[in-house]
């Protein structure tokens, strides 16, 4: 029997890092910047959070202050991802470097950065296992409402998560609203569709691109933090984050650049990602096939949208292109 009540919460937990990454990437892409550095940014976000809380746990004697235990990792995570965002913006917006190349370089860099500092911290702790456990801090992140336990399946499916889960959903909804209904969103989309037009309309194209990339990176970085602190219960081990960053980028396409769709998309992707654990399957090879499902679904969506050719479902028109006003 397929255990839905056990399956859904796990799918949600898998989906949330993707949702953070996807919302961040969507904001960036809506402003015309294809940030392939997102996997790296999420990595950096995660390790920065780990460093922050590691230093705090080391420095703190006695029980941790709940506020600081959450604030310090979050602030360091946001700081780290912001710096990555600034790096991407300076290179692609100001210096007009190729976005794909910079993005891929940043992913390589981010993963290496994470593994380097992860490895250093592991050495510092001197433990026998190649990982750092920050279970103290993690408890604050994964703490859910006490009432959830008394509500049966309802509580399990809807209320059994740490605050970052609800933050992810809130950010996605707010982003969708801002993009669709506000002046800022309209102008941001104009920048991504047709920067020359936006420029002629008196919109500061570079400012919008910088802001979109940096805010997008900061949101994506939270995905990395969620993964370590909540999903992995505070255990950092190198390369554990895996290919979730790429999955987040695939999710952007899957959800047709709509963050409100992304909430469900992320949970579906998360579910597909762990489906193999819930289905009776024999060997490892079959499991790996199940893990491919999210990508296959994305390809199907791509085929579907390009056959239907609805203009609203296409990527922003100037996605990936640099903009220079006097370029003729």
């Amino acid at each position: 029997m397929f255990d839905l009540v056990a399956f859904i919460p796990r799918a949600v937990m898998q989906g949330m890092p993707l949702l953070f990454g996807c919302t961040g990437e969507t904001i960036s892409e809506k402003a015309g910047s294809l940030n392939l550095g997102i996997p790296g940014v999420m990595y950096v976000g995660g390790i920065c959070g780990v460093i922050g809380s590691f230093l705090y746990e080391q420095a703190c004697e006695g029980p941790l202050n709940p506020f600081l235990a959450i604030f310090i990792p979050m602030a360091s995570c946001l700081m780290g991802s912001l710096l990555m965002g600034l790096l991407f913006s300076v290179l692609t917006v100001t210096l007009r470097a190729n976005q794909n190349v910079v993005g891929l370089a940043m992913t390589t860099f981010g993963v290496g950065f994470g593994n380097f500092f992860g490895g250093s911290l592991i050495k510092l702790t001197g433990g026998a296992v190649p990982s750092i456990a920050l279970s103290e801090t993690s408890r604050f992140f994964s703490k859910h409402l006490a009432i959830a336990d008394s509500l049966g399946w309802f509580g399990k499916i809807f209320l059994s998560y740490g605050f970052l889960t609800y933050l992810a959903i809130a950010i996605a909804i707010i982003t969708a609203y801002v993009l669709k209904k506000t002046r800022t969103g309209l102008q941001l989309r104009a920048v991504g569709e047709n920067p020359a037009t936006a420029d002629a309309a008196g919109i500061n194209v570079n400012k919008y691109k910088y802001c979109a990339i940096c805010i997008g990176c900061m949101i994506a970085g939270l995905g990395g933090l969620f993964y370590v602190m909540d999903y992995a219960s505070g255990v950092w081990s190198n390369d554990a984050f895996g290919d979730r960053g790429w999955l987040a980028i695939a999710l952007v396409i899957f959800t047709l650049w709509k963050p409100n769709f992304a909430i469900f998309g992320a949970i579906i992707f998360g579910g597909l990602y762990i489906l193999h654990l819930f289905l009776p399957s024999g060997n490892m090879a079959v499991k790996e096939l199940y893990k491919m499902l999210p990508y296959i679904v994305t390809i199907i969506v791509l085929i579907f949208t390009s056959v239907r050719k609805r203009r609203e479902d296409q990527p922003p028109e100037s996605l990936g292109l640099p903009y220079f006003r006097e370029d003729r």
Partner: protein
């Protein structure tokens, strides 16, 4: 505007230009390609900033650093290439970039847009998406956008280049309404009869310098042209009698569908004769491109036949042959698409290399022959007065008009028997246009069947022996170029067969 100077690299686009624009008038800005008209107006609208000189508005010194500041002075510009976001509605495009108080209220904005439309007689739906609009509707959105911002000075950059005569008339009526409402209109154009029709005054630029201004009523087309070019030019297009016309291309029941399955050409039949220029008229996107491409073998054909008839009267079916075979038979295609570099030329390659694109297969050894194309490039540059710093300049860096000359020059040089040419003079000034017309006429005299797709009906009527009018992919009719009536052709463009009933 006083002593305005703008330098791009080593080129002086504007040199000490003085221009006065008065309230409530329609001023035409006339000049050849590259004479700096658009550059000058771009400085007024804040796209560029002048390197020297001053702008005074209502007697006060104004520094216009950005389009936003230009709006502050009540100046709005409608560019040649529309600055619209395709996936947005008209309303969204119009309010884009505005900093109004409070929440974004699209309904209120749409209401205000309807009001503006009613005042000046525009006809657009504020909730329609731009990608569903025709060219003239898009232009209307651009104009409304400027008016919505409360502009008093409107600058239009070649607004009629993409319109049918009827649409042009409509636009002019709107412009007159605006003038009546006290607004100032500056219109940049090459077309002299439009200058005569719409403007109060005309100012002429030549090679970046201001040469003079005139009251339109006191001048004539010949005088304006002489001023523009700097010497006396004949304004008449020659139309030599067709030389021994024989059917060269015979098309029957041609039907073409686009990749999306939309019918582009529907049951088109006609004959193009050798030694004759066949003009093709029609609103853009009515199947002209598909027609030429079908002949050149670039477009899959749904139904019908295209027969090539050689000098001995033997017919050969073109459908099913690949473009290379067709080209070898002497069919040359010189298509100038909206994106001039998109087809035919490679932007990053220099002139010689682009000439080679046609000839590189002729070489016998593994190495390409660079001498012949180089000589050809020299000849084209020389004969067509292409202004380029050297033969090794990437084509991308040439101005639009010069790019076209290179393309047309190359195609003609391949000594074709059929020359397909679309929009060969799009965006070209009078002088270069006449050079191109001459070239086409020379080809005609040599017995080439010339198919000329054009936008300017006046030119089509002066140049072509026969005019084929397309309307929505169907042949609306074929008229004789010598006796055709402009209004009749205009009607045929918008309605199959021209229609007797008036709408």
């Amino acid at each position: 505007m006083r002593d305005i100077t703008k330098v791009f690299g080593t080129v002086k686009a504007n040199n000490k230009v003085n221009l006065d624009i008065y309230r409530g008038e329609i001023l035409s800005l006339l000049g050849e390609n590259g004479s700096g008209k658009t550059t000058l107006m771009n400085m007024l609208s804040g796209i560029y900033y002048p390197d020297g000189g001053e702008v005074y508005i209502n007697g006060e010194l104004a520094a216009i650093h950005s389009p936003k500041e230009a709006f502050g002075y009540g100046i709005g510009m409608i560019h040649q290439h529309f600055k619209l976001v395709d996936v947005f509605t008209a309303t969204e495009n119009i309010i884009l970039g505005l900093k109004e108080e409070g929440k974004l209220d699209l309904k209120k904005a749409a209401e205000k847009i309807r009001q503006i439309c009613d005042t000046y007689g525009f006809d657009i739906d504020p909730d329609q998406k731009i990608y569903n609009m025709s060219v003239s509707q898009k232009q209307t959105v651009e104009i409304v956008k400027v008016l919505y911002r409360g502009a008093d000075i409107l600058i239009l950059d070649e607004p009629t280049a993409v319109l049918t005569p009827q649409e042009t008339e409509k636009l002019f009526a709107v412009l007159r309404n605006m003038k009546a409402a006290g607004k100032t209109v500056v219109i940049i154009t090459h077309k002299l009869h439009e200058v005569m029709a719409i403007s109060d005054r005309v100012a002429v630029l030549r090679k970046g310098e201001f040469v003079g201004e005139m009251i339109t009523a006191e001048t004539n087309e010949q005088e304006m042209t002489n001023m523009m070019v700097g010497r006396v030019v004949s304004l008449n297009i020659d139309r030599p009698e067709p030389v021994d016309p024989k059917p060269r291309i015979k098309i029957e029941n041609l039907t073409v569908k686009s990749q999306d399955g939309i019918l582009k050409l529907d049951d088109v039949s006609f004959t193009a004769n050798s030694g004759e220029i066949l003009g093709i008229a029609g609103i853009s996107g009515c199947g002209q491109k598909e027609l030429l491409e079908a002949i050149a073998g670039l477009q899959p054909v749904e139904n019908g036949t295209i027969k090539y008839i050689d000098n001995d009267g033997e017919a050969d079916e073109l459908i099913g042959k690949d473009p290379l075979q067709i080209a070898a038979m002497g069919v040359a295609l010189s298509f100038v698409p909206e994106d001039r570099l998109g087809m035919g030329l490679v932007g990053n390659m220099d002139l010689t290399d682009n000439m080679m694109l046609r000839s590189f297969r002729k070489g016998k050894s593994v190495f390409t022959d660079r001498k012949t194309p180089k000589a050809l490039a020299e000849r084209v540059v020389d004969e067509l007065e292409v202004s380029t710093s050297s033969l090794s300049t990437p084509v991308r860096k040439l101005s639009g008009g010069n790019v076209q000359k290179v393309l047309v020059g190359r195609e003609i040089a391949s000594a074709p028997t059929v020359l397909l040419s679309a929009y060969a003079v799009r965006g070209l000034d009078i002088n270069s246009s006449y050079t191109i017309y001459d070239l086409l006429n020379q080809q005609k005299k040599k017995g080439v069947a010339v198919v000329y797709v054009g936008e300017d009906l006046d030119v089509l009527m002066e140049l072509s022996d026969r005019i084929l009018v397309l309307c929505g992919g169907k042949v609306s009719g074929i008229v004789d170029g010598r006796t055709a009536d402009k209004n009749q052709i205009g009607l045929m463009m918008t309605k199959l067969g021209g229609g007797a009933d008036n709408e």
